[in-house]
C-alpha cells in the first residue's frame, strides 16, 4: 500500500496553484520534486503536511484519509517536515527546540526523559550536538537548516518532507547535507524532497516528479525526467527540438 498518496488535489489562491494533481509514494521511496519558482511545489508540501487545506481532492496516509486532519495530527501520524524558511523557536535553546519535536511529535507524547535520547540522536545526525545548549535565535543559516532537519527527525517520521533544505548553502555544506540525508534514507525513512539544487537531489532520490503551473509534467527515473523535452523546456527554457 502507498505510504502517502494525493488524489486529484487542487488549491487556488485566486489563481490555481495546484491543479488536479495525483501522486503516490511507497514506503522506502525517495522522491524528488523539481519545477520552476511558482510551480506549486511548496504548496503541495503544505497540503500534504496539513499547513494548508485543499479546495478539492484528498490526502491519504497508508490509505487513511487525513485531508481534514490538522498539521499537528499529521505530524503525530508520521509526517515530518522541514520548512523552506526556517522557523526555529528563537528564545529556546537548540536542544529545547529538538526536544519539543521528540516529546510531542511521535505517536504519543513521551516524557522528557524518554525523549532525551532521540533528541540527542537527532542533534548528532544533523551536526548540531556541539551547539545543543545555544539559543536557537543566534544560529547561522546553515545551522538553522540543520535545526529544521533535527527537529523533524526528532519526531521520528515515517515520511520526511524536505522543502529546499539545500537552498542558500555553499557547495561544501550541500555535500555534508547530502551525506546526512542519504543516511536518513538508509534508515528506511521515506523522503519527499523539493530542491532547486538538482545535483543534490540526484545524489539521493530514485524518482523525480517535475511540476509546472500546479501540474505534474513528468515523473519517473531521474535521468529520463530531467532529460525529457517538457522538463527541459520549463526548467531550462529550452524549446523541445
Amino acid at each position: 500500500m502507498d505510504l502517502v498518496a494525493v488524489e486529484g488535489l487542487s488549491k487556488s489562491f485566486g489563481v490555481k496553484v495546484i491543479d488536479d494533481l495525483s501522486l503516490s509514494v511507497s514506503p522506502g521511496d525517495a522522491l524528488g520534486i523539481v519545477g520552476p519558482n511558482g510551480a506549486g511545489k511548496t504548496t503541495l508540501l503544505n497540503l500534504v503536511a496539513g499547513d494548508l487545506r485543499p479546495d478539492g481532492g484528498r490526502v491519504l496516509l497508508e490509505g487513511r484519509d487525513i485531508t481534514s486532519d490538522r498539521a499537528d495530527q499529521r505530524c503525530r501520524a508520521g509526517i515530518g517536515r522541514t520548512s523552506q524558511i526556517p522557523r526555529p523557536f528563537e528564545a529556546m535553546t537548540v536542544f529545547e527546540n529538538v526536544l519539543a519535536g521528540a516529546v510531542f511529535g511521535s505517536g504519543f507524547p513521551l516524557s522528557e526523559r524518554e525523549a532525551t535520547e532521540p533528541a540527542a540522536e537527532a542533534l548528532r545526525r544533523s551536526g548540531l550536538l556541539a551547539k545543543a545548549n545555544r539559543r536557537a535565535g543566534a544560529l547561522t543559516l546553515l545551522d538553522r537548516k540543520r535545526l529544521e532537519l533535527a527537529r523533524a527527525l526528532a519526531t521520528q517520521p515515517r515520511v520526511l518532507l524536505l522543502d529546499e533544505i539545500a537552498g542558500g548553502l555553499t557547495e561544501t555544506e550541500v555535500g555534508e547535507l547530502i551525506d546526512t540525508i542519504g543516511s536518513i534514507r538508509a534508515d528506511g525513512v521515506t523522503l519527499v524532497w523539493i530542491e532547486h539544487i538538482v545535483h543534490a537531489l540526484l545524489a539521493v532520490v530514485d524518482r523525480i516528479m517535475a511540476m509546472s503551473f500546479g501540474r505534474k509534467i513528468a515523473e519517473g527515473d531521474p535521468e529520463t525526467v530531467m532529460n525529457s523535452p517538457e522538463v527541459q523546456e520549463v526548467y531550462l527554457g529550452v524549446a523541445p527540438g
Binding site: A49, G50, D51, R70, A71, D72, C75, G78, G80, R81, S83, R87, P88, F89, E90, A91, M92, T93, F95, E96, N97, L99, A100, G101, A102, F104, G105, S106, G107, P109, L110, S111, E112, R113, E114, A115, T116, E117, P118, A119, A120, E121, L123, R124, L129, A130, K131, A132, N133, R134, R151, A152, A154, T155, Q156, P157, R158, D187, G188, V189
Partner: protein
Amino acid sequence: MSVRRTGQPAAPGATAYRISRSTAESKAGLAGSALLVIVLFTLPWWDSDGSLQTPLVVVLYYLGLAQMWNLLAGFAGMISIGQQMFVGAGTYALLQFAEAWGLDPWLSVPAAGLVAAALSAPVALFAFRLSGGYFAIGTWVAAEAVRLLVTESNDLRGGDVRSLTRESLGDYSLETRANVTYWLALALAVGGTAIVVVVLRSRVGLALRSVRDSEDGARSLGIDVIRTKALVWVVAAFWTGCAGAVILLSAPSTTAASAFSVSRWMALVIFIVVIGGVGSTTGPVLGVLVFWFIDEQLSDAEAWRFIVLGGIAAVMAIVAPRGLYGLIQRWRPLQFFPVRRRLIGPGADSS
C-alpha cells in the same frame, strides 16, 4: 525507552544523555525564595502594628495577578487585556457565596476561582479565533460585556456599592480576618509564581514556549496549539479569580466598575510585568517591587501612580524590552528559577 518508529540504531552509550535544569544561581534562588516565603509567612507575628502587612497584601496579590498575565502574554504569546473579567468574576462569586448563600468566606476563595475558570471557557471559544492585537481587543470587549451584565443583573446588583458584612465574615475577629487575608495574598503570590515555574518545567511549558515563538513551527512538531493555549488560559483564569476574591476580602466593599476595572487590574498589571520583564519568571517579582516603591511615594495621588508607572513602562518597552530582568541578563545570564533545559552528555556543548 521510547518506541523508535524509524528503527534508528541507538547511539553508542544509549543512556549517556540527560537533562539538567538547575544552575548554581537557581539553587541559590530557590533557597533564597524559600527563606523569603518563611519570613513573609511569619510576618503577622513580628509586624505587630501591621505597617508592613497592610501594603504587602496589595503587593502580593498584584504579584499573583502579574505572574498569571505573564504566563499568558510572556510565555504563551496570548496578550489578553481582559483579565479584569476574571478578577471581577472572583469578586462577585465571593459576594454571592459568602453574602447571599452564607458559605465560609475563606473556603469560597477557591470556589470563586472555579467560577472564573468556568467563565473562561466560553470566552476562549470566541477569543481563540482571534490572534495578536485582535485577541487583545476581543478579550477586553468580553470583559466589558461581563461587567455590563453584572452591573445590570438584579441578583448581583453591580451598579450598587456592595460589601461583605460582618455576618458573612462570621465570628472571625478583625485580627484573624486581617491575618488570613494576608496569608491568602501570600499564597496568591507564592502559588502564582510556583504555577508558572511548574508549568514551564513540564512538557506543557516546552509546548507553550514553542507556540509563542512560532505557531506553525509548533504544529509541524506535533504540538496541539489550541489545547496548549486553552490549558494555561483556564489555569490563569482560575488563579486570577481567586485573586479577585482575596481583593474583596482585603477591602470588603466594591462595585462592578471597581471589580472589573481595566486600569486597576489590567493596566497596572501590564506595567508591573513590562517593567520587571515579560517572559521571565523573575520579571514580575522585580516589577512588583518597583510598583511597591512608587506606590509608597505616591500613595496620596492615585492618578500620578498611573502616570509614573505607565511612563516607566513606556520607557522600558523602548530602551529595555525585556525589562529589569533583561538588564540584569545583559550583565550576566542569571536564571533564578530553574526552568531552562540543558543537554548533558558526550559531544554536547557546556555553554
